[in-house]
Subunit: 410 residues, 3 copies
Amino acid sequence: MNNVDLKNLIKKQKKNYSLDQSFYTDDYIFQLDLKNIFFKQWVFVGHISRIPNYGDYFLFNIGKESIIIIRGNNNSIYAHYNVCRHRGSHICLEEEGNKKLLICPYHAWSYNLDGSIKSARMMEENFNKTEWSLNKCNIRIFEGLIFINLSDNPNNFDDFISPTKKFIEFHGLADAKIAHRQFYPTDGNWKLTLDNFHECYHCQPAHPEYCAVHDSEYIIAYGAGSNTGPTSKKFEKMLNEWNAKVEKMGHLTGEYVESEFNDYSRSAERTPLREGKYTETKSGKPIAKLMGKFKDYDCGYTSVGTSPFNSLLMCNDFATLFTFIPVSTKHTKVELMWLVHKDAEEGKDYSLDEMIWMWDATTIADKKIIEDNQRGVLSKEYRPGPLSKMEKGLEKFKSWYLKHLDLSLS
Amino acid sequence: MNNVDLKNLIKKQKKNYSLDQSFYTDDYIFQLDLKNIFFKQWVFVGHISRIPNYGDYFLFNIGKESIIIIRGNNNSIYAHYNVCRHRGSHICLEEEGNKKLLICPYHAWSYNLDGSIKSARMMEENFNKTEWSLNKCNIRIFEGLIFINLSDNPNNFDDFISPTKKFIEFHGLADAKIAHRQFYPTDGNWKLTLDNFHECYHCQPAHPEYCAVHDSEYIIAYGAGSNTGPTSKKFEKMLNEWNAKVEKMGHLTGEYVESEFNDYSRSAERTPLREGKYTETKSGKPIAKLMGKFKDYDCGYTSVGTSPFNSLLMCNDFATLFTFIPVSTKHTKVELMWLVHKDAEEGKDYSLDEMIWMWDATTIADKKIIEDNQRGVLSKEYRPGPLSKMEKGLEKFKSWYLKHLDLSLS
Amino acid sequence: MNNVDLKNLIKKQKKNYSLDQSFYTDDYIFQLDLKNIFFKQWVFVGHISRIPNYGDYFLFNIGKESIIIIRGNNNSIYAHYNVCRHRGSHICLEEEGNKKLLICPYHAWSYNLDGSIKSARMMEENFNKTEWSLNKCNIRIFEGLIFINLSDNPNNFDDFISPTKKFIEFHGLADAKIAHRQFYPTDGNWKLTLDNFHECYHCQPAHPEYCAVHDSEYIIAYGAGSNTGPTSKKFEKMLNEWNAKVEKMGHLTGEYVESEFNDYSRSAERTPLREGKYTETKSGKPIAKLMGKFKDYDCGYTSVGTSPFNSLLMCNDFATLFTFIPVSTKHTKVELMWLVHKDAEEGKDYSLDEMIWMWDATTIADKKIIEDNQRGVLSKEYRPGPLSKMEKGLEKFKSWYLKHLDLSLS
C-alpha cells in the first residue's frame, strides 16, 4: 500500500459503517497511526503518587520506545528517552525503582536526573558534554496526572487541557493516590480496542456489572458520552433534575463536546448514576473518602476523554483512569489505574475488591470481545457493516481518525 | 516476486524433478495457492454424524477463515462464515457445540440457523434485514460427507463427485459414524506434505506398519494410486485374480484416473490387501461391522482422492479419511477421521487401538519426515532432485499444480 | 531499502561514531551481511577432539543452513550440506552422533562418508550416481581446529591463516581436547554483539572478573587488542620487560595487525597477565597441564582473531575459543569452547569451575549488555554516539565492515 492508495481507501469509507479491513490489519497503516496520531497526542501515563521521592522513577514502554519518568529536585518530574547517547543502550532496566544518578550499565556514562550528562570517561578532547544530554520527552503534570507527548513539536498543553480542566480539577486528583493498577493486554488493533470504548451498544448484552450501576436510559443516550445514542426523554428529565439538585449543592455540572474538527478528540460530562447508587460499586454504596471539591455525595459520574488514548471515569470517592497503548498492528496494551483520596486507607476507608469490581470485570469482558472481533475482521468475507443508533460515538471517533490520517498524507 | 517472474519460474521447472525452493517457502506463492487452488476446491471437512441434532455445529478453521457448519431444520446443514455482518466479530467461539440461534456475543445481533438475520436492535430506519444475512459458504452433503467450497463461483458439485461417486457409495459412509478424530499439525508447506502422500517410495524405509498390511508389489506399482510406480507383473496377476473373485461376490472393482488436465485431481481404485489380511489392522483380522454394500469380506481396499486436500482410504469394515489444510507457508493441518458402521459399538464390535494403529503410526512418521524435508529445503544449497520410478504420483500432482498456478496468472 | 539507498547510507556514516540504526535492525542489510561477509569467511566451528572416531559427526547449524562435519577414513574430516540430493530432506537429525553411512531417513538414499552416493533405489535408467554426491562445504583442519567456509569461491586458506599461524601453533591445540562447551544465545544483531567484543571500555564497569585477571593499564591500552585504546607508558614498560623475559625462555612474543584493508579482519598478540597471575582463573594459579611449546608458565596471554566471528584467547594451560554466529537480524548464537591438553584429567589436573569462571561470567554479562543495547537502538530517538579513546577496535571493525559491504554492492 502506498499513500495514494491509502488516500483513495480513506475516501471510500462510508459514513455510519465500520472501517475496511486494512485499517485493522495493515502494518503500514499502523506505522502511520503511531507516527501521525499516537505520537502527537498528550497521553496520560501515570500519577505522581507512583514516584513520591527524589529519584523514584518508572518506565513507560510502548513498542520500541521506553521513557524514563523520574522525580528530581524541587518536585520537578522529568521524562527522558531511555537511550544512552553513547551507543544507545537502555539505561534503566527495571520497570520502576529509585536512582540518584542515571548510570548506563554498559560503559557507565552517567546523567543527572534532569538528563544532563555528569561524566563520560576517556572521551576525545573535542567531546562537549553539553551536546550529549539525554533526549527529552515532553512532559506536563496536571492535577497529579503525568502527561507525555512523543512529538518533536508538541501542541500547546494548556490549549489541550483547557476544555476538560474544570472537570478534572473538581475531582481533586492532585490529592489522590494510586490504589491499584492492572494491565489488560488485548490482541486487537488499537482502533478495534477504542471502537469498543466509543459505544455502549454492547453494554447490555456484554456488561451486566456496568448495567447494574448505570441507568438503562443513560446507557442508550449517553453510554459512550454525550449524545452518542438516540435521544431519551426519560434520561433528559433525569439529567435536568439531577443538574438542579447538584447545582444547589455547589457542585459542577455540564458537558464539553468538540464543536469542530481539530487535533484533539476530547469530551467531558457529568451525569447521574442509576437511581440509588452513590458510586460505581456492586452495592452502590460509598466506599472511600470524598475527593476534591465534593461536599457530599451527589450520586454523579464524571466522564472525561482527553484523547482517544485516555479516559478518566470518576465517581465522588474514586476514579478509574484508562490508558490504551497501541503496541503493534494487532496488539494494544490497556492499563487501568484506580485513584482514591491520598488519606484513604485500604481496609479501613475502602475495599479494593469493591472498588475495582465493575471496571475489572468489564475490561476483562471487553478484552475477549475485542479479540473475537479482531479474529473475525481478518476473514476475506469481512465487509464494513452498518452502525446502530447507539454507535454515534464510534462514528465520531472514526471520522476524526480518517480526517487526521488523510491530512497527515498531504 | 511478481507474476512475470513466477510464470518464468514455472516454465523452468523440470519434468521428473522436485520443485524449486520458492514453491515450498515463498509467502506470495502460498497466498496464490490458497486463493487459486485451495479456495476453489470442494473440500471434505467433516461427517454429518458429528452434528446429529438440530443446532449442533462445529467450526472449520483455516488460517484467517472460520466457517460454522450447523444443522438446521429438516436435516438441512448450513455453512456460514463466522463473521457478524455488523462489525465483524466471530459469532461462535467454541470448536463445537449447540446453538438454537446464532447470537453475536458483541452486540447480540441474532441470526437464524439458515443465516438470515433474526434481530438487530436500535438500527436506523433504513436498515433492511434481508441484506444482512450471514455470508454463506458453499456446502454439499454427499453420503454423509460434508464438502465445502470457499469460492465465489464454485464448480458444479455433481460434476466434481461424479467419477468417484460409486467408489464412495459402495462403502456406505452415509450410514457411518465417526469413531475417532486426530490432528497431526505438520511444520511443512502443504505441497511438501502432499508430495509425501503422492508417493510410496518412502513406505518401505519409513512405514513398517503400512508394509505389514500392504503387499510389497502393490506398494511398488500402486502405493500412491494406480500406476504411480513401475509395472509389476506379479501385482497385475494378483489384481486380476482378486477382481474376478470380487466380481463374483457382486462387489465393485475398477479404477478412475483423470484422463486429461482439468480443475480436479481425482483418483479412485479398488485393490487387494496383502495376502491373508482382511482389513488394515495389525492382525489383519476383521474388527468391525461390514459397511455399505459389502456382503462379505473381500479383503480389498478402496482408495479415493477427491482433491489433493482429501484422501478416503476404505477397508470393508472401517474408513480412514484425510484432510490436509494449508495454514501458512510452512504449516499444514492434517486431520484424520476414522469411520465405522453407525451401529458398531466400541469395545464390542471394534477396538479403537487396532483400527487407528496403522494410519496413526504412519501419519506420526510422515509428520516427522515432512518437517525434516522442509528444514533441508530451506538451505541455499537445495536444488530440485531427480524423482524415482516410484514417484510418478508426485510428478502428476506437481504438473497439475504448476499448470493450475500458471493458468491463474494469465 | 535498495542498494543505492544503502550506498548513500554507508557514505553518511561518521568516523568515530556508532552506526545508524538500520545496520542493527534492517532485515535486508542482514541478508547482505550473511551473503557478503559471513558466508565468505573461514569460520572455526569445532575441534577434532569432538569427533575422535570413524563416523563421528556433529552438525553446525546456522539459520537455514545445516552442515554435517564427519570423520571418515584415514582421519579425513568432511563437511557436507545436510541436504539429500533427492528431495532435500535433512539427513542427520541429531546434533551429534556416529554414522557409518549417511542414510536419508526419507527414501533411504545412502551416501558414503566422503559424500559420494552409495545407493538410490528404483531410479530411472539415465540416473548417474556420480552427479548426485552431497553438496560439499569447504573445510580445512588447522592445529585441530575445524574451519569451514560457505562460499562457492573460498579464499585461499593458507593465505588466510598465515599471519596468525605461529600464535596458534605455539599453543598446541592439535594436541588438545574440548573440556567444555557452552552456548550464550544473544538477542542482538551480530554487529552489536561484536561491537561489544571489539572494545574493553565496558570492562571496568561491567566485568569485575575480567578486571581481576587483567592489568588495568592493559585493559586501557590493549583490552580489545593491540593499540585499541590510548597509549599507556606503564603498560608499554610492562610489556617490554615481559617480552624480554619470555624471549629468554624461548617462547613466542609479538603481535600482528592488518596493515591495509583486505578480505580479512585478523589480529594476534602476546601480552602479560596482571602481576601475579599465571593463568585466567580466579586464583590466578595454574590449573592444568602446560600446552604446546610452553616450557614453563610465562604468565602470558595470547589473543588471536581469525575473523570477526572467532576469537581464540589462550593462556599457558587452557584456551577459550569463541564463535559468534549471526542467526537472524536480532539474534546471534555465541558459543564458547574451553580446550585443555589432551592428557589433562578433570578433577585431577584441572577444575572445570575454575577454568570457565572468568569467561562464563563475562559472557553472561555481555549477553545482557548487548540485549539492552539492542533494545535502546530500536528507539526512534537513537542516534549514533561518539566513541571514546578506548573504542578504537570497534571503529576499526566498523570501517572494515562498511568498506566490505560497500564493495559488495558495486
